[in-house]
Symmetry: C2
Subunit: 115 residues, 2 copies
């Protein structure tokens, strides 16, 4: 028998529905670094439609935008993460980091259980 591996995940719900997890966190970070939804989608290897619908779902659920689009300028329309989106992202990453520490700590205990 190979080594057992401990896995886990955390996410944020609102009214029992998925609001924010690994996927949306990565998407907001990509919008931040690429400056547009199109660029973020490309970076993550997903369609624009998919990226847009993830952001839209978050907005529909909370009634607040995670990303706001900016029109015009030399590079055409872009997008940036709102204060609300940034706060959500920061909270999620902070909790996730503590959770990952715990997984690392507990990993060896789990490995040993298989011996």
């Amino acid at each position: 028998m190979g080594p057992m591996e401990l896995r886990g995940k955390v996410w944020i719900e609102l009214g029992g529905r998925h609001l924010f997890g690994k996927g949306r966190a990565a998407l907001l970070e990509a919008v931040e670094s690429e400056g547009s939804i199109q660029g973020a989608a490309r970076k993550l290897g997903m369609s624009y439609r998919k990226a847009w619908s993830m952001l839209r779902a978050g907005q529909t659920l909370t009634g607040a935008r995670l990303v706001e689009t900016t029109r015009g300028g030399s590079k055409g329309g872009g997008a940036r993460v709102t204060d609300f989106g940034r706060e959500l992202l920061r909270t999620y990453r902070r909790v996730e980091a503590r959770f990952d520490d715990l997984l690392k700590e507990a990993r060896n205990e789990v490995r040993r259980a298989g011996d």
Copy 2:
């Protein structure tokens, strides 16, 4: 907007496949308390077939039994959790308890992020 809720789960994999999580932990505990797979399935509101296939999947993956059946006696055939099953259960519950503590601690941070 209602309160955001932090959710999460942990599980154990072997060779990239699900080995042990909330469902199998509850099943082993029910076998322990009921003394048979049939009784455990009834207690958890699942079919005998389902309970048996969960135990079987764990055995196929690890090459070791989680439960062993006992034949005969005044009450007919029964089942009990093997030492290996018990060790797996104990390890899982220990890690899960620490993880639940972390979720409780972080819950308020997440709630506040929505304000």
